[in-house]
């Protein structure tokens, strides 16, 4: 089954609102994911992998069944 991520980027603030599989993440989780994403990108991790892994590490239950390798997804679960 496809999974989906929706991200709302509010202009002028850097604030993100994140929905994973239709579930809106609480503000604190979204803020933590935003910080983690930026930290990982700054460390040289590709953006897609950085975002997915940041979501995985902060979202209860995580997104444990897929990961991004470069521009291609790879199902592992």
């Amino acid at each position: 089954m496809d999974r989906d991520i929706r991200v709302v980027h509010y202009e002028g603030t850097g604030e993100l609102e994140i929905f994973v599989d239709g579930q809106r993440l609480p503000f604190e989780q979204a803020a933590a994911i935003t910080r983690e994403f930026t930290r990982r990108v700054s460390a040289g991790i590709p953006g897609g992998l950085a975002l997915l892994s940041a979501i995985e590490s902060h979202k209860a239950g995580g997104i444990a069944h897929s990961h991004v390798v470069g521009h291609h997804k790879q199902e592992v679960g």
Partner: protein, 136 residues
């Protein structure tokens, strides 16, 4: 001889470390050029190392790592620094949006990344935002 000119100094800049990290010196130079042109101020800003420098007859500024310092002998510092602060914040925000879009495009792979501008009302305040949707 007594100098009767008083210099006033104002500082402005991007405070968010995440956003500040996106500003390169070259991009900062482009923002400063655009802001000065908008304000109708003459003189060409230049890049010295990682610092943008601009001087005119009665005002000057430096911008480094997202922080601007404006000096003026004619009280123009607040106007310039306010415009610079807004310009730098706008540039950071656009870069951040691009970073998010690239990340989601990577996740999407061959699937389309849907992007649209929306207005979100929260507690009576309408805010402009971009909605990205990706299935993978």
């Amino acid at each position: 001889m007594v100098c009767d000119l008083a210099v006033s100094i104002t500082q402005a800049g991007v405070t968010d470390e995440q956003l500040k990290g996106l500003l390169t010196p070259e991009l900062t130079l482009a923002v400063v050029k655009a802001v000065l042109a908008d304000l109708g101020l003459a003189g060409e800003p230049r890049l010295t190392g990682d610092t943008v420098v601009w001087n005119s007859y009665n005002s000057s500024l430096t911008v480094r790592a997202g922080q601007a310092t404006v000096r003026s002998y004619v009280g123009d510092d607040q106007r310039i620094s306010a415009a610079l602060g807004a310009g730098l914040a706008q540039a950071c925000d656009a870069l951040y949006g691009q970073q998010i879009a690239r990340a989601l495009a990577e996740i999407a792979g061959k699937q389309p990344l849907i992007q649209r501008n929306i207005a979100v009302e929260k507690e009576g305040v309408v805010r402009q935002a971009t909605l990205f949707t990706v299935r993978y």
